[in-house]
Subunit: 149 residues, 2 copies
DNA sequence: CTGATTGTTCAAGTTTTTTTGAACTAAATG
DNA sequence: CATTTAGTTCAAAAAAACTTGAACAATCAG
């Protein structure tokens, strides 16, 4: 099962340890602590700590409440909408945004081109990219809505 | 511009050279040969050859026709539907399929569990995963349709 | 306050992925 | 046919990504 998620996160371009951690939490009947993860997965404390942070940022894992104990226990978020949402917010949107910025700078450069025919060609290509990114951006909420519940 | 695509393919988990090659083809007013790519991008012949093969497999690049010359020239596919389709076919579907297979084996293992309460829990989780994958599979054609044209 | 415990950080080490380049095949040219 | 040119392959080198572990901070308990 852990393997299953390792493959899963790799497809999404995330490191193996995230898959291991999420996978173990996903099939555990009770929340687990950082030490549990280190023990059962045979990974280092550093990996577990960083992995948990990323998963929390993605909204894929949350702290479990009410367990009279000093250490914190974690449980997985198991609703797809939330998982997809976190991934989009943290991994997809930032790239779309930085892409837009870059495109603007590219467009400025293209405008400096002396040969009119070439300039038109470049601007046309840039316009095409802009339309791709726009569609991508519009896509995301739809995708999230269709997947979630 | 090449940079723009390098970032783009990295997000998709593809190697940098693919982005370089596609990016250069994308802003070239005429088709380019393998040697052109080696020359302009400063990459090795091996990289260019392998990169072009992958891009062809993805349907992101095609051979340009009618250029009385021995070497083959390449031009980019610039319609989003086709690009998305190729990516889904080559990169997404295979993972979904291998995931399904794995899930089946996991389910068999879970059935061997002696403790009824635990077994139910495992089977429930597995069912959830199956529903995720099913939705993912249904998602893809919709996504492609919405993006393309 | 002191010692013990939980968790974080990050430089160095390891693993994985990508690129290179030289040897090779195939096909065209003279 | 011998030679040149286009393109492929794959083992080894290089680069990138990930993990480790030891030092550190923060918090709790006595």
């Amino acid at each position: 099962m852990v393997d299953f998620f390792v493959d899963g996160v790799k497809v999404l371009g995330l490191p193996r340890s995230l898959g291991e951690i999420y996978g173990l939490l996903f099939i555990s009947t009770a929340p687990l602590s950082l030490d549990d993860l280190v023990l059962h997965l045979g990974i280092s404390k550093g990996s577990a700590s960083q992995g948990l942070r990323t998963l929390r940022t993605l909204g894929a894992v949350r702290e479990a409440t009410g367990n009279g104990d000093r250490r914190t226990y974690y449980e997985p978020a198991v609703d797809l909408k939330r998982l997809v949402g976190g991934f989009i917010r943290e991994q997809v949107r930032p790239h779309l945004n930085s892409g837009k910025t870059k495109l603007q700078r590219i467009a400025e450069t293209a405008n400096l081109c002396d040969v009119p025919a070439e300039r038109e060609f470049f601007l046309d290509r840039i316009e095409r990219l802009e339309s791709w990114m726009k569609r991508g951006g519009q896509m995301l909420p739809v995708l999230q809505k269709l997947l979630g519940q």
